[in-house]
């Protein structure tokens, strides 16, 4: 079972790390929902990423908001509160037929690339719903190119985006919580990536 990243997923991960070079950053990777439910996949293609937080990653509440708030059928007489939050991650996944397939984390210090408690717990939670989940820890070495759908294209586009400082406009979930108008799906950056392809 191998993991592959599209250019869009890779670019946004990198831009997230580039925007906050002095912080630890983390986020989720999503893959398209597999049509054949019973047959296992031979490779998982992560088509997009959701940058989550920067700074203190080891606090639970907002991570839970990002991971666990889900949509469900409203049953009459349901005593539990419901609310209208179409922008939350699970709703977005359902709309686009994505499934959360992985988690990435870049630690504060580039030399420290081991998964810590946070990374392991998030990955465990993700793998409850997706058995082929993957965790990506950022290191500062040459990547192995078979993780990429198209490494040459990914390199070229990332270089162009870094050059134009596109990371300044990247929005993560933290930015969204600071101001709800900030869109963590980053449609403008997606457009730039598509445009450069």
């Amino acid at each position: 079972m191998s993991l592959k990243l599209t250019t869009q997923a890779y670019c946004k991960m990198l831009l997230h790390a580039a925007k906050y070079p002095h912080c630890a950053v983390n986020g989720l990777l999503v893959a398209e929902k597999h049509k054949k439910k019973d047959s296992p996949r031979d490779s998982v293609l992560c088509v997009d990423c959701v940058p989550l937080f920067h700074g203190a990653l080891a606090l639970a509440p907002m991570l839970e908001v990002a991971l666990t708030l889900k949509s469900r059928l409203i049953r009459p007489g349901n005593i539990f509160p419901v609310f209208n939050c179409p922008i939350l991650i699970d709703a977005w996944c359902k709309e686009n037929k994505y499934v959360i397939a992985g988690y990435y984390q870049a630690n504060e210090r580039i030399k420290e690339a081991r998964p810590n408690q946070v990374a392991e717990k998030v990955a465990a939670r993700i793998s409850e719903n997706f058995s082929e989940a993957a965790m990506i820890m950022w290191k500062c070495r040459e990547p192995s190119t078979d993780c990429f759908e198209d490494w040459i294209e990914a390199q070229k586009i990332t270089a162009a985006l870094l050059e134009s400082k596109s990371y300044e406009s990247l929005v993560d979930f933290d930015n969204h919580l600071d101001d709800l108008r900030n869109d963590w799906t980053n449609p403008e950056i997606n457009k730039s990536v598509l445009h450069l392809c």
Partner: protein
Amino acid sequence: MSSISELYDVSWEEMRDKLRKWREENFRNSEQIVDVGEELINEHASKLGDDIWIIYEQVMIAALDCSRDDLAWSCLQELKRQFPDSHRVKRLAGMRLEALERYEDANKLYDSILQDDPTNTAARKRKISILRAQGKSSEAIRELNEYLEQFVGDQEAWHELSELYINEHDYAKAAFCLEELMMTNPHNHLYCEQYAEVKYTQGGLENLELARKYFAQALKLNNRNMRALFGLYMSASHIAASPKVSAKVKKDNVKYAAWATSQISRAYQLQHLPAGVMLTSLALSISTKTPYTTAASAGVAVVIEIHGRRQT
């Protein structure tokens, strides 16, 4: 390449004022500071008067952040020339050594400052930052604790210590640091909210109730703090779902959670975001063990190091 003043159609006075704003509010937008500051220094140095020295300092630190050693070096030279025996400039020289990862040399410099002036807090804090940069968290924590015994009022240090404790998952001690900050800054909604997050992460019914109260307090101080609103919702939901609470407590918390959901919906609607999917929280079916107490026993299927060997 066009200059900042051309690109944004700003005068040198506006650039100088912008730098002052960033300096006063302690922003870490280093790339912008370098762009604006470098132009100001190169083109308008004579007009800046005595402001130039503090701008050199600000630009130097930003240049270190952006790996612009050339710019940092030239700023440092100007400052050394103007203030030859200054400890403040010596500390900047130390920071440059830190940026070059010459930690031994930097430490020697800071030690010489402390020999001259044992009360120099800046040099002590830089030594602690070196420990943090080297990943020596426990030593950094120990030194910072010793520092705070002497300089109890240093809020920046209390906040740094709380961050260190959070990274080490020592939430009880992180909470203590935030309590100190809340005592001296009772109107700061961010400290309240962060304290609540730490309590929530600690887990357990008592901590969840405290978390809910402090999320509520943060909201009282700033009713637009979305984290506090979500936090209130999550903590009230967890308490309501707990089998250990009485029926009354359950009912009250369901009410609090319901209030929070209506406020969250309203906040999104006010942004004219499209109404759509109705949501409930999966948190309600979570057991009383908070996610942070469950071990990673499920085991992740694959761990891939993107820049290294693939491991299964």
